[in-house]
């Protein structure tokens, strides 16, 4: 398993990031965690619909997304808010989506990120199509798709990987192996030792990295992106990490796993090792930590305010959402809806 930064903050290889960049990304990690905890607490207060926390997976998302060009396509899931935010998806829209509002799925024009996929496995083929189109349109854009260990059991994962390899499209398959598919442990999802080795069956390079290691994730993703951009085709990256929280706020991990397991992984926290790395280099102080936490808090509160400030959706939006121009039967139904 590829690793550059140990849980205790020691480098085992050359860091791909200078100190400034490392500080920038540490700040992003703090943002991500603040966002995630806010999501959990808002849901508990009934202000969000079901929420799927990603605590423990921040480095996998931030490290990989940091390696992207601003116009690279991203197709991710319900658990990838940090990656989406890194690629320009507005915080307030991420929250809006979680309140149960379609408008949360509509990022600004410059943001090349699809709304999060709720179905498991079905979205990877879309990334393959985006990547393929980029080549047909002579763009240099790469498409990256995020998915979990569980998603690799779906037939669509297989078809997406195969099309990507056969047509050699610029696509990066980024799997966050967080150990669980709801209640099913990784070991019972597939008998293959690693998820990375699934690439072999497609004649595609596959690499397994420490998903809690910001540097390793950044490095592996940069390499895959470079290969894709230079016409080298797709790559499968398995980022080994862990979902320390519940599957969603509706889930009770106590039913299927030993709390000790999560504690184990808390000791491999993706933020802490970067903090140690920075502080050992006089690039981290408690003051700065307090400052960025406060900034994150304010920024996130602002976003929550905007999301909650959205007026209730109207039936016009519902009917107009279906087609570019409303066919007669929808106009008709819209009228009836008016009279309830």
């Amino acid at each position: 398993m590829f690793q550059l930064l140990t849980p205790s903050g020691d480098l085992t290889g050359p860091s791909p990031l200078d100190l400034t960049m490392t500080r920038r990304l540490y700040r992003a990690l703090v943002f991500a965690r603040t966002y995630d905890r806010k999501g959990m607490s808002l849901q508990r207060q009934g202000r969000l619909a079901t929420y799927a926390p990603f605590e423990g997976q921040e480095a996998a998302q931030v490290g990989s997304a940091a390696a992207l060009e601003p116009d690279d396509w991203m197709v991710a899931t319900y658990r990838d808010a940090a990656a989406m935010w890194m690629q320009g998806y507005p915080l307030e829209l991420l929250f809006a989506g979680r309140t149960g509002d379609e408008r949360g799925g509509s990022p600004p024009d410059h943001c090349p990120v699809l709304p999060p996929s709720i179905t498991v496995g079905g979205h990877m083929v879309h990334a393959v199509g985006l990547a393929w189109a980029s080549r047909l349109l002579d763009e240099r854009r790469v498409a990256i798709t995020y998915f979990g260990d569980g998603a690799t059991s779906e037939g669509d994962f297989h078809e997406a990987m195969n099309f990507a390899a056969v047509f050699s499209v610029p696509c990066v398959f980024f799997c966050q192996n967080n150990g669980w598919a709801i209640s099913l442990p990784r070991s019972e999802q597939t008998r293959s030792e690693t998820i990375a080795q699934k690439a072999i069956g497609f004649g595609m390079p596959g690499v397994q990295v420490d998903g809690n290691d910001l540097f390793a994730v950044y490095q592996a993703t940069s390499d895959a992106l470079a290969r894709a951009r230079s016409g080298g085709g797709p790559t499968l990256i398995e980022a080994v990490t862990y979902r320390v929280g519940p599957h969603t706020t509706a889930d009770d991990p106590g039913r299927y796993r030993d709390p000790a397991e999560a504690d184990q992984w808390r000791r491999r926290d993706p933020l802490e090792r970067v903090r140690i790395f920075l502080s050992e280099r006089e690039a981290w102080t408690k003051e700065w930590q307090d400052q960025i936490e406060e900034e994150a808090g304010n920024e996130i509160d602002r976003a929550v305010g905007l999301a909650e400030g959205l007026p209730l959706p109207t039936s016009s939006e519902m009917f107009e959402g279906m087609f570019e121009s409303m066919p007669a039967h929808l106009v008709n139904q819209h009228d009836r809806a008016g009279l309830r």
Binding site: T119, G122, S153, E154, G155, P313, T314, M318, L330
Partner: protein, 320 residues
């Protein structure tokens, strides 16, 4: 209703060693809605099986088991996740008997929680029962009471042919009712008269039975006696009860949550237009979900037929 379904599965597992429960998260967690809660502990992981996330395999593998003599009760977590298994259901489960002219059969049940109203995420509020009703070779059952839930599920498990068993999510915990202990079945293909009346017939199924009953009660306060029919079984359809009631009342309103166009309400209206046109004294109204994607939490109220919408349709029918 949840408890009644659990009872049924428990009884079936206890009675018949060929019955097994298979699906995503059905064992350890007892399923997203806890319908299979406790069964793993009682019957072991050979008969209560957590699978990888792969709906097509869940159904296709269950079919193989059924051909070999097992009686799988497969769970698909939400109707929106039954689509990856659509090919297996339509091309194989529904056809193996005919393809082999009775040599191989698919005595299996596919349980699918369906319908909206709980503010769930996209794909979690689907009502596409009519696509299964349109598929030759399937039976399609939809209980709306705990009593029917248990009795129909046991009937489905006993049935020698494949059954799509749609469970209204909104009713899992909404309706409480004492159900008999022990094994009993509700005959497949018989509608239930939820309320009898003489002025108009309201035909519905699933969670909408609640709103429809509500509308009937509201209308009663206006002196209108509506007969409410809960189909319970879309395929086979109980035309006798359906047509009989409309012949009596002369008016019909069909209510369902699914999108309007080509929803099962169309089939009901078509049957009436075929079999009792002359008895109809008013156009057959359909109160349905719109031809839109089911909205997310904040917009659900814009989509779901309400007591008021149903009552309004009935009033139009009565004035016609």
């Amino acid at each position: 209703m949840a408890q009644a379904l659990t009872d049924a599965l428990d009884l079936a597992l206890a009675k018949d060693h060929t019955v097994l429960v298979i699906g995503e998260d059905v064992a350890r967690t007892g399923g997203v809605f806890r319908i299979t809660d406790g069964l793993l502990q009682r019957y072991g992981d050979d008969r209560v099986i957590d699978t990888p996330v792969a709906e097509s395999a869940i159904i296709g593998v269950s079919l193989g088991m059924a051909i070999a003599g097992m009686r799988p009760v497969a769970e698909l977590q939400f109707m929106g996740f039954s689509y990856p298994a659509f090919d297996q259901i339509v091309n194989h489960v529904a056809r193996i008997r005919n393809r082999s002219r009775h040599r191989f059969t698919a005595a299996m049940v596919i349980r699918i929680p369906f319908g909206g109203g709980i503010g769930a995420a996209e794909h979690h509020s689907e009502s596409m029962e009519s696509i299964y009703a349109h598929t030759p070779g399937l039976k399609v059952l939809i209980p709306s009471t705990p009593y029917d839930a248990k009795g129909l599920l046991l009937a489905a498990i006993e049935d020698p042919d494949p059954v799509i068993f749609c469970e209204p999510i909104r009713l899992y915990r909404a309706v409480k009712e004492e159900v008999p202990d022990g094994w009993y079945t509700v005959p497949i293909g018989e509608a239930r008269v939820e309320r009898s009346g003489t002025d108009v017939t309201l035909i519905t199924w699933g969670a909408m039975t609640k709103e429809t009953r509500g509308a009937a009660d509201l209308l009663a306060t206006e002196g209108v006696e509506a007969e409410v029919i809960d189909l319970r079984s879309l395929v086979p359809l109980d035309r006798k009860t359906l047509v009989g009631s409309v012949v009596k009342t002369g008016r019909a309103v069909v209510v369902h949550e699914a999108p309007r166009t080509a929803g099962f309400g169309a089939e009901v209206a078509a049957v009436l237009a075929e079999e009792c046109l002359y008895e109809l004294t008013a156009p057959v109204e359909r109160v349905t979900g719109w031809d839109t994607v089911f909205p997310l939490k904040r917009g659900e109220h814009l989509y779901l037929p309400s007591v008021e919408r149903i009552a309004a349709a009935v009033r139009r029918t009565l004035q016609a």
